[in-house]
């Protein structure tokens, strides 16, 4: 045996496995390229600004998705207004106040369960509870309340991670200087955890924009412009995804692809912003 120790023995199976691994990665990436490419290919030719700023109306003979865009914005704002305080508050409690270990495990478990419940179940629950019991019927508020339960895990989990990343010395320094606990949380902890919390909020926004099954039976599908700012909360409103579904069911594929294009652009932007924030404010990187 005069083979050198440094000579690498190439096992055939290793090469095969490596090829499979590279192939799988290739498939995952190519899928995305096909998806985005196809949407651009079908969507861009029909894209026009008129479509964005008009309301679909048979009387005026216009088609457009402005009401759906407005509804989507409503949905994002209202849902975040409800879910953010609750999610962040819960995270603060779990991280800073909670002492009972069983209680913490229970809350973590339920958050886990909430994250796993499919959106169609949220839709049914929202329809029964917010729509039926609270008599909100099909309205943006019903949809927003339903979605806020759905995105609660995303917000609270990210907030919790962000809070955990704040060095212990910050807390001790603030408390040592005579600050009370809540004052410390408000003025020291939250500001340093803001980037992490924001990342969670943006991910939640992405989820709201993409949601459809939970909204079909809660927010409905009406596409009219709001007559007054707060009254609109109590009227039915279909978001972009719902409109996409309706167009798709009616086989209006051109319009569906324009909406898909808009949705993809929104998702891309949100992803980009989330990345930018977490890179810019990375606590670990700054030292």
């Amino acid at each position: 045996m005069d083979r050198s120790l440094y000579e690498k023995k190439n096992r055939f199976i290793d090469t095969v496995l490596n090829i499979f691994i590279q192939l799988s990665t290739f498939i995952s990436v190519v899928l995305l390229i096909i998806i985005i490419g196809y949407i651009c290919y079908r969507g861009i030719p029909y894209f026009s600004l008129d479509y964005l700023v008009n309301t679909t109306s048979i009387l005026k003979n216009t088609i457009g998705i402005l009401p759906n865009i407005v509804n989507t914005i409503y949905m994002i704002v209202v849902t975040l207004l409800i879910a953010c305080p609750i999610g962040i508050g819960g995270a603060i409690y779990l991280n800073e106040y909670a002492t009972n270990k069983k209680f913490v495990t229970m809350i973590s478990f339920t958050t886990e369960v909430l994250a796993g419940i499919p959106s169609i179940i949220y839709g049914l629950f929202g329809m029964l509870f917010f729509g039926g019991v609270l008599k909100l019927d099909y309205s943006i508020l019903t949809g927003a309340l339903t979605l806020s339960i759905m995105i609660l895990p995303i917000i609270s989990r990210n907030a919790q991670i962000a809070l955990q990343a704040v060095p212990k010395s910050y807390r001790e320094a603030a408390l040592g200087m005579g600050s009370t606990k809540w004052y410390m949380i408000r003025t020291v902890l939250l500001p340093s955890a803001i980037p992490g919390i924001l990342t969670g909020v943006i991910l939640a926004m992405g989820r709201i924009v993409a949601e459809s099954a939970a909204l079909l039976f809660t927010a409905g599908s009406l596409a009219v412009l709001p007559k007054n700012i707060f009254g609109h909360l109590f009227s039915s409103g279909g978001t972009l995804t719902i409109q996409l579904y309706l167009e798709m069911a009616k086989a209006h594929y051109d319009q569906a692809f324009v909406i898909a294009l808009i949705l993809i652009v929104i998702v891309l932007c949100l992803n980009f912003v989330a990345k930018w924030i977490s890179r810019k404010f990375d606590v670990n990187k700054r030292g």
Binding site: S24, T25, V29, G90, L94, T180, K181, M248
Partner: protein, 310 residues
């Protein structure tokens, strides 16, 4: 002098009030998730059980005739349940190998630059709305399936042509949709495997592939299991993407028949259902919910097992 004394004291009082109120509000926020889970469970059971007693448990769960609007309605959802189980099973079979191998590449092999690109692609894939997947399924996968169908059933006289909206199309869409979940969680699991495992294995003369498949993967087994369970949960709960892709008529889940899943059964009929029909749809919701809760319990069990191992 006196005045400032008073102000300090009262200030302290308000301060301690604020402290107490803050603590109470924060506790309340934390409890919301518990209340939400309990009320969702309660409502799913309240709305889902009446039909079970009204129609009879066996007539719903173990009958395969679904004619809710007929004169003598029949509410058998056996085929719907079977479709969900079989559909999700095959979607997992397709997605798991691709997902795990991609995760291995990301965690163990790929250079940082490639890793960054693939990671962003996966994140985007996860963010794409499910209706968009449905749209693409209809316009890319269905026509392709139709061609295949035409070739395979050329001489068959009994086959009902579906235009490509069949079980296979739905399985493909589901498999794509759960890929990001699988990849992300598996990658995290692989990263938590301590580095000295790899180094010891390499030092013993194992090749990189041997190390990955014989040391790292077994060590990350719990994490990978939970990735699969979460993937199952995601696949079984998906509605809008497969609603139109699957063809949406109640049939025995054969590869080339138009089928209906648990989720799509609810979506497609909820808007016009009433009375017992509506109650049965809620029962379908309950069946789905029970599936999901089982998945969650399995997941907790797996994670607990992982902790015991060290």
């Amino acid at each position: 002098m006196d005045k400032s004394m008073v102000s300090i004291l009262s200030n302290r009082q308000t301060k301690s009030m604020v402290e107490k109120v803050a603590a109470i509000i924060l506790t309340a926020c934390a409890i919301v998730s518990v209340i939400a889970v309990i009320s969702i469970t309660v409502y799913m059971f309240i709305s889902g059980t009446p039909a079970l007693f009204q129609v009879g448990i066996t007539d719903i769960l173990f009958s395969s005739v679904w004619t809710p609007t007929a004169e003598v309605p029949s509410y058998g959802i056996l085929y719907v349940i079977l479709t969900s189980i079989i559909g999700v099973f095959f979607a997992i079979c397709i997605a798991v190998p691709i997902g795990i191998l991609t995760a291995i590449n990301l965690a163990e092999i790929a250079k940082p630059k490639i890793r960054g690109v693939v990671k962003s692609a996966i994140e985007l894939l996860a963010g794409i709305p499910s209706v968009v997947y449905g749209l693409l399924g209809i316009l890319i996968i269905n026509p392709f399936m139709y061609q295949l169908e035409l070739i395979i059933f050329k001489d068959s006289s009994t086959h009902q042509f579906t235009g490509g909206s069949n079980l296979i199309s739905a399985i493909l869409v589901l498999a794509i949709m759960i890929l990001p979940t699988l990849i992300n969680i598996t990658e995290t699991a692989l990263q938590t495997v301590p580095d000295h495992y790899r180094k010891s294995s390499l030092a013993l003369g194992a090749s990189q592939m041997q190390t990955i498949f014989k040391v790292v993967l077994p060590a990350a087994k719990n994490g990978i299991m939970s990735a699969i369970v979460l993937g199952v949960g995601r696949a079984i709960g998906e509605a809008m993407a497969i609603l139109l892709v699957a063809g949406n008529s109640v049939n025995l889940p054969l590869p080339f028949s138009s089928v209906r899943f648990l989720t799509t059964a609810i979506v497609s009929e909820m808007s016009y259902a009433s009375g017992t029909h509506r109650d049965v749809l809620f029962t379908i919701g309950l069946v789905l919910f029970v599936f999901i809760i089982c998945m969650n319990l399995i997941l907790t069990f797996i994670l607990k097992g992982g902790k015991d191992d060290g």
